[in-house]
Amino acid sequence: MSQRLPVKRAFGCAPPLLFDSGSPGRSGFFWPEEDAFPAAELPAELLRDAVEGFPELGELEALRHFTQLSHLNFGIESQFYPLGSCTMKYNPKVNETVARFPGFAHIHPLAPVPLLQGALELLYELEGWLAEISGMDHVSLQPSAGAQGELTGLMLIRAYLADCGDARQKIIVPDTAHGTNPASSTLCGYEVIQVSSNEQGVMDPATVARVMNEEVAALMITNPNTLGLFEKNIEAVAGAVHARGGLVYLDGANLNALMGIAKPGHMGVDVLHMNLHKTFSTPHGGGGPGAGPVAVKAALRDYLPVPRIEKQNGAYVLSEDHPKSVGRVRSFLGNFGVLVRAYTYILSLGGDGLAEASRMALLNANYIRKRLEKHYSLAYNEPCMHECVFTDRAQHRFGVTTLDIAKRLLDYGFHPPTIYFPLVVSGALMIEPTETETPETLDAFIDAMIAIAREAKENPELVKTAPHSTPVRRLDEARAARKPVLRWEPERAERDKEQGML
């Protein structure tokens, strides 16, 4: 039982839940002025009793709770975080400073437009910049994240084709695609045709041509794809799709590999989305907020979501009246706070800086690929772009899997790569260093990976039982899913105490 008692340590102990802390009647809320105020007469039957089990903490108590929680997290500013497909680059501090200017943080979306000219100017300019960077014609900043960008993009493809009197039912999605691609297709009422990539890990024009027909609305392609490989046949592939009246959707989540190197708009792409919380340095926040603008070619402009920002003799206006538009995809004007950060990032780097960023992202990824290829087997022996994918093939014979390698990396103070994705690679280890990491950091990470490869051979048990130095060790995910416990409840708290789990 003793091992069930909370670990005693100087640093890094998990605090009890908010609901198991505090004391009845305690509160961090302090509002003496108001006491005189006459209460509103609301019918008693509308009113609830006090919220059962709600937290009752003081200000320091609450702050300490969350500060202690923060110490249980890895973050980019404390650890190297080479999570593939997530572009965990440095999130510049100046972005945080400007996003907190009262003139951005405390403005209301339904205030009269003349009172929001600075915000609209920023958004208008950002749309233009993203169009220039991606080689597209028009941009909408509405979508809240990449997946919503995908949905929006597919919706406008659907609307466009419908207008052309050419309703179609299917979307072609490569087997290497991110899960959001097929999920968005379904959400948009489409049926998904999965096609597999060729032995070089990319789309084969012939294969696409074979499945392409008049039922297919579009191909969703990711470039570079999730293997970190440039879809070198993309123009031919796009040709095959266009030939049968389909459109080409590009998942631009990996745009960090392309700035100044190749513009999606020149590859035959009709619609794409970008992840500002990847390529454009806005923080991931442990799972958002992000922003997933959609960009289109001129032909699809009228279908972009409303509202749209327009400039009319010097002033910026919001226009809602676009009969062909797919409509509104979220409330108000998108994740403005995120857009301010992305704007600041582009302003800071400039065109050359963005190109440099992509070049260095490629340099870092290829450096890791090169130094590790003798120790881990590559999924594909092709030149990589901004990320490289390895497998656990070489470690398998020692009974060591990708999961074990990932967990062991934690003991070395590194966040693991993305694992078991893309699905086409068994035991994938998808490493995306990004351009903001130094070669010394890459070397330290590589050395750790090499050390783990050695441990896998010499002491597999050590790796299979990792991590050994984290606040909690490997967690029983099956148990969590079998009988889901998704919230605190008074009874449970009691039971856990008895079992000494907290």
Partner: protein, 448 residues
């Protein structure tokens, strides 16, 4: 360069290791035609001071609540945010981490989200909640989609209150549009400003999938969820309660109390700045029996190999990265940091504080409405009970708004753009941020 640390020597050394001379070789397999036209025509980068100057100038062209009196609500609210909230969310361990795929080094985010899910359940009176979605509007749309996953094919009629936030109605329409089988129908509101229950009962039938009501609704009016739920239950339809001002749930009986199947809303009021309307977050709660139909992330409790409690993302089999085209939703990156802000905010307010804050809002709003009617010749438009927002008719509204503007007051939101049937109607919101003397000035401005 700005954020790339590579010196020329670093680059040379790395290229040597890779075994090439020129970095261009790394992408020479990219078709030449693409490479040649890839140049980005944007000005060069700027030093941090120059960047800050540029952004400060843009910010100065907006009217901020720090120098203006806003009586604006309509889905985004100006509430006090304790400094402690930003102190937490700006900690890089929270702000810069990714979705917690590696639980052993993400317990901070995971425990906070577990606490968030619990808080949402407590506020809504529901049994289960997810870790949040994009915003209130997409939460409403996702709720309709979730109902569709649960209800039989025979039920595809969706009844949406016309008193639901216009943006929310539009987003539901946008999402539903691609699903040929879903039919939306709007239900009018009555003189009280609440949804007309007669019309609702009349519209409800064996093909009704769900009913979507605002609670409070867009006019600030508190809907009669008890009667609505009774009607839905009789017809076998789901009741979806949508809240744009969650602070109201600190005071009002929660949707769960009435038996709503799904309760969603926008959480911005809880510690998130207005930010021109985003980012905030959507909250999403339901009954235990439906958890496998929930969209978005779910955090669950479990134990580690040593029996210590820990938290993990769970029921991932609903999600896109496992289920792909059969996922319950396509959501991946959500709004976690805003959900964290709300968790910090709510733990600072606490049981008594949240209640008190809600009372202060209601008191100020009710007092302001009375004075506008009494002293500014404004007319009451609706008779229903309200929380911190209400609608009044102001004669010669445009001039009144201009007058107020000259005094740095935005008196409210004009409704006619969405409701031609409500000319010269103004939606006024009063919160704890509107000082007594601001209300004086509002009354004076509208009285003219």
């Amino acid at each position: 360069m700005r954020y790339t640390p590579h010196t020329l020597d670093d680059q040379a050394r790395m290229l040597r290791t890779i075994g090439i001379q020129d970095i261009k070789q790394l992408y020479e397999h990219v078709p030449a035609r693409l490479r040649e036209t890839a140049g980005i025509r944007l000005p060069g980068g700027l030093a941090e001071v120059a960047v800050r100057r540029r952004l400060a100038n843009l910010a100065a062209k907006n009217a901020a609540a720090t120098d203006w009196s806003f009586f604006l609500g309509g889905g985004i609210y100006h509430h006090a945010i304790p400094s402690a909230v930003d102190a937490v969310v700006s900690r890089s361990e929270f702000a810069t981490s990714y979705t917690p795929y590696q639980p052993e080094v993400s317990q901070g985010t995971l425990q906070a989200l577990y606490e968030f899910q619990t808080l949402v359940c407590q506020l809504t009176g529901m049994e289960a909640a997810n870790a949040g979605v994009y915003d209130g509007a997409s939460a409403a749309a996702e709720a309709v989609l979730m109902s569709r996953r649960i209800q039989p094919l025979s039920r595809r009629q969706v009844l949406v209150s016309r008193a639901l936030h216009p943006h929310y109605r539009e987003v539901i329409r946008t999402y539903a549009r691609n699903l040929e089988d879903v039919a939306l129908q709007e239900i009018r509101f009555g003189d009280s400003g609440a949804t007309d229950l007669e019309r609702l009962r009349a519209a409800l039938g064996p093909s009704t999938m769900c009913v979507v009501l605002g609670y409070p609704n867009f006019f600030g009016v508190i809907e009669d969820l008890a009667s609505a739920q009774a009607a839905c239950a009789r017809a076998g339809a789901h009741l979806i309660s949508v809240t744009t001002e969650p602070l109201a749930l600190g005071l009002l009986k929660p949707p769960g109390f009435f038996g709503a199947e799904i309760a969603v809303g926008e959480g911005q009021s809880f510690g998130v700045p207005m930010n021109l309307g985003g980012p905030g977050f959507g909250f999403f709660a339901t009954q235990r029996r439906f958890i496998r139909n929930l969209p978005g992330r779910l955090v669950g409790e479990t134990v580690d190999v040593e029996g210590r409690r820990g938290f993990v993302l769970t029921l991932a089999t609903r999600e896109q990265h496992i289920r792909r085209e059969r996922a319950t939703s396509n959501i991946c990156t959500s709004q976690t940091l805003c959900a964290l802000a709300a968790t910090v905010f709510l733990s600072l307010m606490g049981k008594t504080g949240l209640r008190r804050l809600a009372e202060i809002n209601a008191a100020r709003a009710h007092q302001a409405r009375a004075r506008l009617i009494r002293e500014a010749r404004a007319e009451a438009v609706f008779s229903g009970p309200f929380f911190n927002e209400f609608v009044v008719r102001v004669r010669d509204l445009d001039r009144a708004i201009r007058r107020a503007g000259e005094r740095r007051i935005v008196p409210g939101i004009e409704l006619s753009r969405w409701y031609p049937e409500l000319p010269e109607a103004l939606l006024v919101c009063v919160t704890e941020m509107n000082e007594r003397e601001e209300v004086e000035r509002l009354v004076a401005a509208l009285a003219g």
